[in-house]
């Protein structure tokens, strides 16, 4: 089966986010008011071949934890959808 995987990474609470802070600071000068708590993360998409959904999820989770994030400073949500059924 072929799966489409989306890994959304974010910095853990308390970890400095200069991009988020800079975006938030510049919003009022552009006329966008009332926005706060801006945090910038990453979205990483890939396709994954696996025999079933559980295997695909385990594989995607392992790639995410071992490589795509640094668990000391980042967390991630992994979502999965079927592109080609078996």
């Amino acid at each position: 089966m072929l799966f489409s995987v989306l890994v959304e990474t974010r910095l853990r609470p308390g970890i400095a986010d200069p991009q988020g802070a800079t975006i938030e600071r510049s919003l009022p000068s552009l006329g966008f008011d009332g926005i706060r708590g801006v945090r910038v993360g990453k979205a990483i998409r890939f396709e994954l071949e696996a025999s079933d959904e559980d295997t695909a999820r385990a594989h995607a989770d392992e790639v995410t934890q071992r490589f795509l994030i640094n668990p000391v400073i980042e967390a991630a949500d992994v979502s999965l959808s079927v592109v080609e059924p078996a």
């Binding site: 910095l11 970890i15 400095a16 986010d17 200069p18 802070a21 800079t22 490589f67 795509l68 640094n70 000391v72 400073i73 980042e74």
Partner: protein
Amino acid sequence: MGARVGVVLFPGSNCELDALESIRDLGGTADLVWHADRSVTGFDALIVPGGFAHGDYLRPGAIARFSPVMDAVREFAADGGPVVGICNGFQVLTEAGLLPGALQKNAGLKFLCTTTTLRVETTSTPLTTEAAVGDELRIPINHFEGNYTCDADTLAELRAEDRIVLRYVGNPNGSVDDIAGVCNEGRNVVGLMPHPERACHELVGSVDGAVLLRSLLVSAGARVG
């Protein structure tokens, strides 16, 4: 002394020549080790230099950690060999799990390029044997992700085991407990954000880095026997 220092070169490293030259100026022998090499045989100490290994893509050090040479670096470290990661090299060693914690973006949200004052906190590492506890060294920093962080348990462990090697006097980047450099449990792997190799000559404004690299040479020499 017959010690030979290997300086690991990744695509995107940019402080490898400074490291080579400063070691040679101090009377040591130093050569580059390409990141695709699988062996570090013949070296008595290793430096993982600063720069942007593999473009710092994904995260600083995240891809460098998988370079073929890193298995050899890991074995060398496990065998007690002195390994020093400077700046991006520190980031690589934390990503590789050879040092605890991580380097997050500077608290002031700015890239920092300035001279800092460091205090030597322990002499029981290959980078500080020739210094004295309390010595203050003027050494430059040059980084965006230099804000050292780790969980509370790790910090307590680092303190209790005397593993905080260098602290900033006047914290420039928000690092927890003013940490500028730490070592591993075995004390032979050291990482620091400041650049001692850029402070080894009067022409560049400070020679305070020399005592650190001289320590590394002495430690490497002790391995030669």
